[in-house]
């Protein structure tokens, strides 16, 4: 059975795994972006908090994803919930960091003009800082989402479903075709998502 025959004969399973994968990553990213943007904005008010949060997210990211997921099993069991929790934790760093630096690295002349004109700090945050930080935020969200897709595959190991299942099953059953299909699809999804979000980012930059 060659590669394409395999793809055609199994397409319903492959499609449902793909959709499952996208679903998990999508839910995780919605939560992650909400939390990350909120945290990123909040920590701009307090340097101490910013340093702590950035360090924690930094360390979170160095924890091997496989280990992070495994550690969640005793607490949350297996399945989609721990997978989503793990993904959210894991994708915080790029979002929080980019939101924070995006807001903090705005041309001082612009801020001085805004203050001098009589805008309140609240207003400056809403009408100047956040809109100007959008491209940086988007870049963080892009990195995080692409990471999420890849790590989502590893979540297949803790019973979250998705395309990772094909890879892990393929390895244990020594089915090269399963492994390759899973790996190729994940790669394609990652690349397409990256390109798409890159396009959005460029649009915001203009």
């Amino acid at each position: 059975m060659n590669f394409f025959e395999f793809l055609i004969s199994r397409w319903p399973t492959i499609l449902s795994l793909t959709l499952e994968h996208l679903f998990i990553v999508f839910i995780a990213m919605v939560i992650s972006v909400t939390v990350g943007v909120a945290v990123g904005i909040l920590i701009t008010k307090n340097q101490m908090a910013a340093r702590i949060v950035l360090n924690v997210t930094n360390i979170l990211m160095t924890i091997p994803s496989l280990a992070l997921f495994s550690l969640l099993i005793p607490v949350l069991g297996i399945g989609k919930i721990p997978a989503i929790v793990g993904l959210v934790a894991y994708t915080q760093l790029p979002i929080v960091r980019n939101v924070y630096t995006g807001i903090m690295t705005i041309n001082p002349a612009i801020l001085e003009a805004a203050r001098g004109m009589g805008l309140t700090e609240k207003k400056i945050m809403r009408t100047i800082r956040i809109p100007l930080a959008l491209p940086a935020m988007m870049s963080g969200i892009r990195t995080a989402t692409v990471m999420g897709i890849g790590i989502g595959a590893i979540a297949g190991y803790i019973g979250a479903g998705g395309l990772g299942v094909y890879i892990f099953q393929g390895i244990s059953r020594s089915s090269d075709q399963m492994v390759i299909v899973g790996a190729v699809l994940i790669s394609v999804i990652s690349i397409l998502t990256d390109q798409f979000l890159g396009g959005v980012q460029r649009k915001l930059n203009r």
């Binding site: 041309n107 002349a109 612009i110 003009a113 203050r115 001098g116 004109m117 009589g118 009408t127 100007l132």
Partner: protein, 325 residues
Amino acid sequence: MIRFENVVKRYPGEATDAVHNLNLEIESGTICMLVGPSGCGKTTTMKMINKLIRPSSGAILIGGRNIDTVDTIELRLSIGYIIQDTGLFPHMTVGENIAVVPGELGWKKDRISSRIDELLDLVDLNPKAFRNKKPNELSGGQKQRVGVARALAGDPPIMLMDEPFGALDPITRARMQDEFLRIQEKIRKTIVFVTHDVEEAIKMGDTIAVLKLGQIVQLSSPMEILSNPSDPFVSELIGGRNSLKMLSLMRCGQIMKTLSPAEVEEARGSPQGILGMKATAQDALSEMLRTGERFIFVEDERHDVVGVLDFENLLERVNRHGITS
């Protein structure tokens, strides 16, 4: 009127005052130039007016009211602010930039919209063409025009200008200075203008405050500064050629001798140089050197000769102010 009363500013961790015991009165409707080398405290002085910097001691009064008793936001909304980098908001269009302060003041939409057109006209930018442009589509000079328009948007009685034309090329800078003076003739704002460029100070100012190490070393009119620099520091800052600079401050129309109709008739057809009333005495001198004559005629807007200006006249004008250096 803006008044500084014994204002001191010392930044934390510094051994000396950035601004030391400063007293200054700025008349309403005039341009006061703060001039001096970098680190002399001129920008600090200006930024204390809109509370971007708080004085360590002393008081600043605007129209007799201590600004400490005025709400910061309210105060700033009533003061136009222009800085060198323009600080235009890059994500907003020209129109939106100008609309910021009127929006904060709660103006109605159509009033804001007509204000934008009015201001763009004032700074000589076509409203239709520029309203919806983003700042990065503008040249340096155009950005600064928008900066001026934005600062004027809420019709503030006071404007603070921090080296507004410092980043422009010399030709654009000169043009912006001329145009700004033209605008000021119409709007008559109280303007505090910071610059390190003495030429600019002499050209733009009604009064000039020369600052050195946080203190005013001379406060007087441009003419007075040129003719009577109070100390070597000021003379050095002016950098010589004072008589020529003084001549550049006099308008032909102001110092000419008016001619009777008969004299005008006599003058008609003579080959001497002719200048407008608004030309400077420096232009007149240059014209005399060009033609090799000791006098020139002055004409009004309708190109009718109305007066004459001769070399002795210029000499007397300069001497009257008593060059000391």
